[in-house]
C-alpha cells in the first residue's frame, strides 16, 4: 500500500472515485499557483498533480503550453515544484508530480526521487518516459519509495499494456483519446476500452486523464475508472488573472461529478 492507493481506496469506500487535479507551478505566478493548489485540496481533490513547467511540453495542448510559458517567463524553477508538493501535502491531499523527463534527468534520477520524497511527494507521472525507456528512473523511484505512474493509450499494444501496468505503482494513467491534453466534448467508449485493457493486464487502480472538463463527464468516467484526472479545465478556470474563486467553483463541479451528483 502507498499513500496513493490508500487515498484511491478511501474514495472507493465512500462510494465514489478519486478526483485528481493538475496545475502547473508558477502559473500565473508562484505564490498564486501555491494558493491555487490549496484551493484544489479544499474544494475536493484527493490527489494533486504538481506540474513543473517545462520548455518543450510535447504532450500538452495549447492551454497548458501557455501556462507553462507564462510560468517560465516568470522565472519559475524546478525547486518551486517541490515547494508546491509540500504545500499540497500540508493542505491534506496526496501530492504527485507530472514531470517531463529532461527535468528529472538534469537533476539526476536519484536526486529527483529523493527531493520529491523529502517534500512529501508520493509519486511521479512521466508523460514522455515509458518504463522500458527509463529503467534508471524506476530503480531510483523504488529505492526512494516513490510510486511510478505510467501512461497507457488506445494505441498501446497488449504486450506494452502488460509491461506498463507491471511497472506502474499507485495507479495507471489511462488516456482515453489519442491526443494532447485539453478539453473534449465527449470522452466516449474508448475510455472504457482502455481501462478494461489495463484491468486485464492486472492494473488494480486506473485513473482517466486527458479530456475531462465537466462534472457530467466525471460522473460518466466514474462508472468504470478509479479516478478522474482534470488539468486543462482547472488551468483555464485559474486563468492569467489567477482567479481562485472561479477555480474553486470548477473544482467543486468536478468533485460533485465524481460523487455522481452532476
Amino acid at each position: 500500500m502507498s499513500a496513493l492507493t490508500e487515498r484511491i481506496d478511501a474514495a472507493k469506500a465512500e462510494g465514489r472515485v478519486a478526483l485528481v487535479g493538475y496545475l502547473p507551478v508558477g502559473y500565473p505566478d508562484v505564490p498564486t499557483s501555491l494558493a491555487a493548489m490549496r484551493v484544489l485540496v479544499e474544494a475536493g481533490c484527493d490527489i494533486v498533480e504538481v506540474g513543473p513547467a517545462y520548455s518543450d511540453p510535447l504532450l500538452d495542448g495549447p492551454v497548458i503550453q501557455h501556462a507553462a510559458a507564462v510560468a517560465l517567463e516568470g522565472g519559475v524553477k524546478v525547486d518551486d515544484a517541490f515547494t508546491a508538493v509540500r504545500t499540497v501535502a500540508e493542505a491534506g491531499a496526496v501530492p504527485v508530480v507530472m514531470a517531463y523527463g529532461n527535468l528529472m534527468y538534469a537533476r539526476g534520477w536519484k536526486r529527483f526521487a529523493a527531493d520529491l520524497k523529502a517534500a512529501g511527494g508520493a509519486g511521479a507521472i512521466t508523460p514522455d518516459l515509458t518504463p522500458d525507456a527509463a529503467p534508471e528512473w524506476v530503480e531510483a523511484a523504488r529505492a526512494a519509495d516513490i510510486d511510478t505512474i505510467f501512461l497507457v493509450a488506445p494505441s498501446t499494444t497488449r504486450e506494452r499494456m502488460q509491461l506498463t501496468c507491471d511497472a506502474s505503482r499507485g495507479f495507471v494513467y489511462a488516456t482515453p483519446l489519442m491526443g494532447v491534453t485539453g478539453e473534449r466534448a465527449s470522452v466516449g467508449d474508448a475510455a472504457e476500452r482502455v481501462v478494461g485493457a489495463a484491468r486485464e493486464a492486472g492494473a488494480a487502480r486506473v485513473c482517466i486523464g486527458v479530456g475531462v472538463s465537466t462534472g457530467v463527464q466525471a460522473a460518466e468516467v466514474a462508472q468504470y475508472a478509479d479516478g478522474v484526472i482534470v488539468g486543462t479545465a482547472f488551468v483555464r478556470a485559474l486563468g492569467d488573472e489567477g482567479d481562485l474563486e472561479r477555480l474553486r467553483a470548477k473544482v467543486e463541479e468536478l468533485a460533485a461529478g465524481v460523487r455522481g451528483e452532476a
Binding site: 517545462y54 520548455s55 518543450d56 511540453p57 510535447l58 504532450l59 495542448g61 495549447p62 503550453q65 510559458a69 517560465l72 524553477k77 524546478v78 523527463g101 529532461n102 527535468l103 528529472m104 534527468y105 538534469a106 537533476r107 508523460p127 514522455d128 518516459l129 515509458t130 525507456a133 527509463a134 505510467f150 501512461l151 497507457v152 493509450a153 488506445p154 494505441s155 498501446t156 499494444t157 506494452r160 506498463t164 488516456t175 489519442m178 491526443g179 494532447v180
Partner: protein, 402 residues
C-alpha cells in the same frame, strides 16, 4: 572495439539515442522500425529507391573542385560534394524519398513534417506530390518570415503549411507541434522526420537514407586520386553530416569535421553550437547533447541559418564526438557569411547559408594544413532561398545605404 563504426543500428549509440516518447507513439515507432527493418533488406525497396535517386533526384551528385575558393583556404585542394544540385535543392530529398516510400508500404496516406529553413518541408512536399500523399508541414512562425519563399513553394506543391507561434517560434517548436499532431493522428499519419535525431528508428534510418552522400563521394575521391584528409559538413540536427561521414568512419586517416552554428559567438550565449556549448539531456525523443539551463529547460538557440538554429543534435554525432572519431567546430554567423560570399564570388556557386558553415570550416582547416591537404566539403543545399537574407546582410538591396 574492433568492429566497423559504419551503419550503427541504434537505438543507442554509446550512451546516446534511445526512445523517450509518450506511450501513445510507441506502437507507431515499433511499426515504423519493423517496416524499415523489412524494407532495408527487400531488394524491391532498394531498387525503387535507387531508381528514384537516379531518375528523379539526379544522383549521383557530382564532385566539383573549387581552386579559386581554395586559394583563400591555405591553398589546399578543396572539393565540393554537390547535394545542392539535387532535385528540390538540397540533401533532404535523399531521406524524404525513403521515408515517403516507407509510408506507402505501411499503408498510411498522410505525412507530417517539421521544417526549419524550409528545405526539409519543400523536400517532403515534393515527395508527397510525387507519391500522392496528403502533406502537412509545421514551421516556426519566425522561420516562415525569414524563409517566406519556401512557404510559398510548399503551398504550390500542395502542402498545408502551419506556422507555429508557440515558444521560440523556430524549428524546435515546429518539432513539438508535429509530435502533438502525430500523437493525435498516429493511426492515419506517418511523421517524416527531417534529421538524424529524434526517437529510434529515426537517427539510424535517416542516416541510412543520407549515407549515399559518402558512399558516392568516397568512390569519386578514390577515382580522383585518393581519400581526402578531411570531410566537412554543417551540423544542425546533423543529417547531411552523418550521411557525409558514414562511409569514412573506418578510414581512420580521414578527419571528420562537423561545423556547428556559433551564431554571435559561443561566448555570447547566442548560438546553436550544441556539442560545443551543451551537455547531455533528453529532447525530442532521444538522449544527446542539448543547450539547456541548470534545471533542464531547453535554451533558445540562435543562428543566421534557420536550418542550423536548433538546440539539439543527433545522438550519433554526440557519440562520435565522445569517442573522438569526429570533431565539431563552432562557426559564427559572420564567418559563415564571409564563406557564402567567397564561394559565390570565386566560383559562381551560391551555397545555402547552412552549407556556408562547412565552407568556413574548410577555410580554417586549409589554413591549418596548407597546400598539401585535400578537403571534401558537402555542399548540402543551394542558396536561392537565402538571397533575401544575404542581400540584407551585405546591404545589397537597392535604395539601402551601403
Amino acid at each position: 572495439m574492433t568492429g566497423s563504426l559504419q551503419s550503427a543500428p541504434g537505438p543507442f549509440f554509446g550512451d546516446f539515442g534511445g526512445r523517450f516518447v509518450p506511450e501513445a507513439l510507441m506502437a507507431a515507432l515499433d511499426e515504423l522500425t519493423d517496416a524499415y527493418d523489412k524494407a532495408r533488406v527487400d531488394p524491391a525497396f532498394g531498387d525503387e529507391l535507387e531508381r528514384l535517386a537516379r531518375d528523379y533526384t539526379g544522383r549521383p551528385s557530382i564532385i566539383t573542385e573549387v581552386p579559386r575558393f581554395a586559394a583563400h583556404a591555405g591553398g589546399a585542394r578543396v572539393f565540393l560534394k554537390r547535394e545542392d544540385l539535387n532535385h528540390s535543392g538540397s540533401h533532404k530529398i535523399n531521406n524524404v524519398l525513403g521515408q515517403a516510400l516507407l509510408t506507402k508500404r505501411i499503408g498510411k496516406q498522410r505525412v507530417i513534417a517539421e521544417t526549419g529553413a524550409g528545405q526539409h518541408g519543400v523536400a517532403t512536399a515534393t515527395a508527397a506530390a510525387l507519391m500522392d500523399l496528403e502533406c502537412v508541414i509545421y514551421m516556426g512562425e519566425e522561420d516562415t518570415e525569414r524563409q517566406a519563399l519556401n512557404v510559398a513553394r510548399m503551398r504550390l506543391l500542395g502542402a498545408e503549411v502551419i506556422p507555429v507561434a508557440t515558444g521560440t517560434r523556430t524549428l524546435r517548436d515546429a518539432i513539438n507541434e508535429a509530435f502533438r499532431d502525430w500523437v493525435a493522428n498516429v493511426e492515419t499519419t506517418n511523421y517524416v522526420f527531417g534529421t538524424a535525431a529524434g526517437p529510434h528508428p529515426f537517427p539510424a534510418m535517416v542516416r541510412d537514407f543520407q549515407r549515399v552522400i559518402s558512399v558516392e563521394s568516397r568512390e569519386q575521391m578514390l577515382a580522383l586520386g585518393g581519400l581526402p584528409d578531411a570531410v566537412l559538413a554543417c551540423v544542425g540536427g546533423g543529417s547531411n553530416a552523418i550521411g557525409s561521414f558514414d562511409a569514412y568512419l573506418d578510414d581512420t586517416d580521414v578527419r571528420l569535421i562537423g561545423c556547428e552554428a556559433a551564431g554571435d559567438g559561443v561566448e555570447t550565449g547566442r548560438h546553436a553550437a550544441t556539442l560545443t556549448g551543451g551537455r547531455p539531456g533528453i529532447l525530442h525523443g532521444s538522449k544527446s547533447f542539448i543547450l539547456q539551463d541548470e534545471d533542464g529547460q531547453t535554451q533558445p538557440s540562435h543562428s543566421i541559418s534557420a536550418g542550423l538554429d536548433y538546440p539539439g543534435v543527433g545522438p550519433e554525432h554526440t557519440w562520435l564526438s565522445s569517442i573522438g572519431r569526429a570533431e565539431y567546430w563552432p562557426i559564427t554567423d559572420a564567418e559563415a557569411m564571409d564563406a557564402f560570399r567567397l564561394l559565390t564570388r570565386t566560383e559562381g556557386i551560391m551555397p545555402a547559408i547552412e552549407s556556408a558553415h562547412a565552407l568556413a570550416g574548410a577555410i580554417k582547416l586549409g589554413e591549418e594544413l596548407g597546400p598539401d591537404a585535400t578537403l571534401l566539403v558537402t555542399l548540402s543545399g543551394r542558396g536561392d532561398k537565402d538571397v533575401e537574407q544575404a542581400a540584407r546582410w551585405f546591404d545589397m538591396f537597392p535604395g539601402e545605404d551601403a
